[in-house]
Amino acid sequence: MHAFLAPYIEPYLGAYLTTLIVVGIQALLIVVPVLIFMAYLTYAERKVLGAMQRRVGPNVVGPFGLFQPFADAIKMLTKETVIPAGASKFLFILAPMLTFSLAVIGWAVIPVNDGWSIANINVGVLYLFAVSSLGVYGVIIAGWASNSKYAFLGALRSAAQMVSYEVSMGFIIVTVLLCVGSLNLNDVVLAQKHIWFCIPLFPLMVIYFISVLAETNRSPFDIPEGESEIVAGFFVEYSSMSFALFFLGEYTNMILMSGLTTILFLGGWLPPFGIEPFTWIPGPIWFIAKICFVLFFFLWTRATFPRYRYDQLMRLGWKVFLPFSLVYLVLVAGVLMVMGWLPHVV
């Protein structure tokens, strides 16, 4: 992108400004499709849930209800923003902005095709892990700043939940990195050229996906929201656009984490088996298709499973996933060592 644009604008604007403009355009090229994807994810969720519950789903606005997300957006924008009287005003407004921006900045390192990412950094996996572990702040700050019992309960629940599931996610990522020998997301995908990690590490992929459900507060781990227990949890006091930002953040985060699952286990942009009819389709399309495949599981679990109770959730995270991922990590390390498959031995 830089090499393509630089000859035309660099003589007029100088090196710094050119870099700035190129990065700005790249950011737009990532963020706008992600937002459109996210808008249609909400539509897809309602359609899929509708189909699974033998309803029609949204079908009134536009053909097949396709304009429903835009109708929702206009509705959200035109509502009144209410800030509760006892709320900590600055933090109350900061929390949804934080949630949304954290969901978006993770996309900076996601490679859509070989080398197609805004920042191809050496510690891409750690960066994404850091960004996803920061997501809890939007929730805690919102819950505390609202000055409301339900919101606070939701915030406390999510703090405990997201911190617990991060631990096993970390071990799973370490296992994948052992097989790759690099923290660069591009290298992670290229290491799967011969076999996608979902085959040798299948149990880890299942656990990783379940942890992602907990990390993004999706059902059956949506106890921070828990409509039937604490109304809507941490965002009960939010209205209008500040509510919409939480909503956008949650769905963008879902797409981001599906993207990470795709990169870690499903071979990113690589076509399956790397053989003829599949290789005709370009990489980014494979990448998007795989993200959609993972996202469908998000919706499917939501339609299938009841909400976990709080103690069950903790038990699953600490007593099932953590020991399992630890043992699997040692096992994988042992196998790689014995068979001499460790990458990059210096």
Partner: protein
């Protein structure tokens, strides 16, 4: 030039945040400033080319430690005025610690600055061919493996201590005893253990028919009451 400007911006924000941590009236705001300070420290690490340390700082301190801090501070019922009272007394101690740290840092930095040969005294010089993640890995798991394992053991001891503190078994039947959930016992429960169906004649006194049942988990030797036994409530409903 831009790197220098970025350094001064991050460093200035870091210092302001650190000052706010101590001086903020609201403890939650203080923790939030602490988080901002961690962030700026991570940015400084990035500028120094230590991207691994920067990310680990964000993941460990911001993503986990500070969350627990925030969690505790939000839950505690803190008397702010009482907290302020000790400030005069503790300020000199805090200042002394700060001054000692400053002198030590100046000593370290100064020796590098004024005596370039001091760099050669380092045990593990940089290997420029590797990323700093790989460098750290090569050092920690080879030359320093015993120190690394020892620090792990220290953490393990701390963890065991924390678990023992929360799991003190007092009298197992008292209300304060830690309640353990026996999932196998809960799953193995059958309808006959918990539920009695009674044909009640019209007009009969309910007391004669609803004999209180012993709670199931107590029968199985557990002190656990009323977590998820919806049926127990029905069985006890009569008395």
């Amino acid at each position: 030039m831009i790197a220098a400007a970025a350094f001064y911006v991050f460093a200035a924000i870091l210092i302001v945040c650190a000052a706010m941590v101590v001086s903020a009236r609201n403890p939650v705001h203080a923790v939030l400033f602490l988080i901002l300070a961690f962030f700026n420290a991570a940015a400084l690490f990035l500028l120094a080319g230590a991207e691994f340390l920067a990310m680990i700082l964000v993941i460990v301190y911001v993503g986990a430690v500070a969350v627990l801090f925030l969690f505790v501070v939000m839950m505690l019922d803190i008397n702010f005025t009482q907290l302020r009272e000790g400030f005069q007394r503790y300020a000199p101690v805090g200042m002394a610690v700060g001054v000692v740290l400053l002198i030590e840092l100046a000593g370290v930095m100064g020796s590098w600055k004024f005596a370039p040969e001091a760099l050669n005294l380092r045990f593990a010089p940089n290997n420029a061919a590797l990323h700093n993640t790989a460098q750290l890995g090569h050092l920690i798991y080879t030359d320093y493996v015993f120190l690394f394992q020892t620090s792990g053991l220290v953490l393990l001891v701390a963890m065991i201590g924390a678990i023992v503190l929360t799991l003190r078994d007092r009298d197992p039947n008292s209300a304060k005893a830690s309640r353990r959930q026996n999932v196998a016992a809960q799953v193995a429960r059958r309808k006959e253990d918990t539920l009695v169906l009674v044909d009640v004649e019209f007009g009969a006194k309910t007391q004669e028919f609803f004999k209180p049942l012993a709670p199931v988990l107590e029968k199985a030797g557990h002190g656990d009451h009323g977590h998820d036994h919806g049926h127990d409530d029905h069985a006890h409903g009569g008395h």
